[in-house]
Symmetry: C2
Subunit: 315 residues, 2 copies
């Protein structure tokens, strides 16, 4: 029985194994991914993002509990900043959601951001596919950070939740303007803190400045205290409303098609580069280019052009 | 007279023009970059990173003033999170360092993170090369965020400064563990705030847990109040000490070689992908693959393999 077959029959250990193989770049992982691919596309994917310290992990924990109460199976993919030194995840699974540890209906996976240069969003898509094939009803992707990484990862999600928190600095206010455009729902977490109402009002005001087309989704701002489980039901309802909108308007189908194209192109980019860079390292071309760059005989732009003209068949 | 010649003779407007051309993907920009490449490698590059709200921009402003007082020409590259909607930079040049606006010895450039998937670090390297060829003595790269982006961009810098600030949340503490390994100097900014001493002590304790080889650089923690210009001289001295160490130990030469290799490989990756993805879009292959993915006839992994085997000459 292949790993793929086991995963499709709900074998959690087989899923964990395939995810490890994906991480480690084991060649057979691709064959398994091919087998599960036709059985994906059933899970609803929720992305959660926001600045560090906004309480995203606690929120994910509460949402997980909420979906479990609805008898839904939940997969969680937590994107952790990687230690550039050890290559390991910094936050790690250990500190996450211990209370769901014995629940077979919850599968938690930390993904370290060591897959540089676009590799991360591709492997996120792969991991989401494994969880989807495993039969998870809801998959939550959580990202720390405010960079481009998170925008790309969240673009995998059907519903994106941006978590803000009162009382962060001016940079945050500026970033908010950018994050405004990716959120379907906005959560002001730690809503008991000073300034929560102001943060909520500011967000609402900024959102109201957008012109919405008839029938277009209007993002909502919700006050939550994740730590005390306040506002979680309203958030679950908000997600359900957005999902309903996505399904009814046809946006979901369009989104899934775009996601598919992106996944393919990212995979293509990674594999192309791997093939060609391996090739020039094995045949000594890379070493001679490096020598030429050091001596000043060539420059990186000319060197790339010569490699491209040698390697790509012009047809 | 080519743009490159003008830049090499110190023409600021020509430099600004070439940077715009790089951003816009104008084909001739690559030819100009080839011409300036042999004249680069003279500037000292300083990377500044840290979480949002740490006061990085103010710090960069003060360092710029400090180097100007030493009669050094300063280039600043500020990496801004991009609005995914408008494609424009969110913070923008406008709010940056107005007091240096009329100083010909300062060149400030905001770089938006719209160059997805590795494009950003490559274009940062290109912009640094333009500033270098323009005759800047010091180039400061400032990044907002805590993701992988910043780690890669900072890897362009000879000296990396990590800016922390007292009183941020637990996530930050965890991230600190990862950021610990990329900093040559650590700044506790807003050192007048409560908890500054604790933050400084924690950082020092964590750094002391590292085992340093004889002759290895030992990162230092400095207390700064950028807003009041306190501690800036000490920071300038710290940078000078690290630079001296890098030059004397031979680490600088090694670092420059690695940077050169990385720049070449990133350029290769971008250009390879551009060539191949353009090709399959023009010849209709992309459309047929997308149809196959939608119908379930193929999967992205198999589709990528077939494109690779068609496009790459096996020699």
């Amino acid at each position: 029985m292949s790993l793929a077959d086991k995963i499709l029959s709900g074998d959690i250990r087989a899923a964990a194994r395939l995810m490890r193989d994906i991480d480690d770049g084991v060649a057979s992982a691709v064959e398994e991914l091919k087998l599960i691919y036709p059985h994906t596309g059933h899970a609803y994917v929720i992305g959660i993002t926001g600045p560090p310290g906004a309480g995203k992990s606690t929120l994910v924990d509460q949402l997980t509990a909420g979906y479990r109460a609805q008898n839904k199976r939940v997969g969680v993919v937590a994107i952790d900043p990687t230690s550039p030194f050890t290559g390991g995840a910094i936050l790690g699974d250990r500190i996450r959601m211990n209370r769901h540890a014995d629940d077979e209906g919850v599968f938690i996976r930390s993904l370290a951001t060591r897959g540089h240069l676009g590799g991360l969003s591709r492997s996120t898509a792969d991991v989401v596919n494994v969880l989807d094939a495993l039969g998870m009803d809801v998959i939550i992707i959580e990202t720390v950070g405010v960079g481009q990484d998170e925008v790309e990862i969240v673009s995998t999600a059907h519903t994106t939740i941006v978590v803000m928190v009162p009382g962060l600095g001016d940079d945050i206010q500026a970033i908010k303007a950018g994050i405004l455009e990716i959120g379907d729902l906005f959560v002001v977490n730690k809503a008991d803190r000073d300034g929560a109402d102001r943060t909520s009002r500011e967000l609402s005001t900024m959102l109201e400045m957008n012109r919405y087309q008839a029938g277009e989704w209007r993002p909502q701002v919700l006050m939550v205290e994740a730590q005390r489980n306040r506002g979680i039901d309203e958030l679950l309802q908000g997600i359900a409303r957005h999902r309903h909108h996505m399904e009814e308007s046809g946006e979901l189908r369009h989104f899934v098609e775009e996601k598919r194209a992106r996944h393919f192109l990212e995979l293509l980019k990674e594999r192309l580069f791997m093939e060609v860079s391996n090739h020039i390292q094995v045949n000594g071309r890379f070493r001679s280019i490096m020598a030429g760059l050091t001596s000043g005989e060539t420059n990186p732009y000319t060197a790339v052009e010569s490699v491209l003209s040698e390697r790509l068949r012009r047809d």
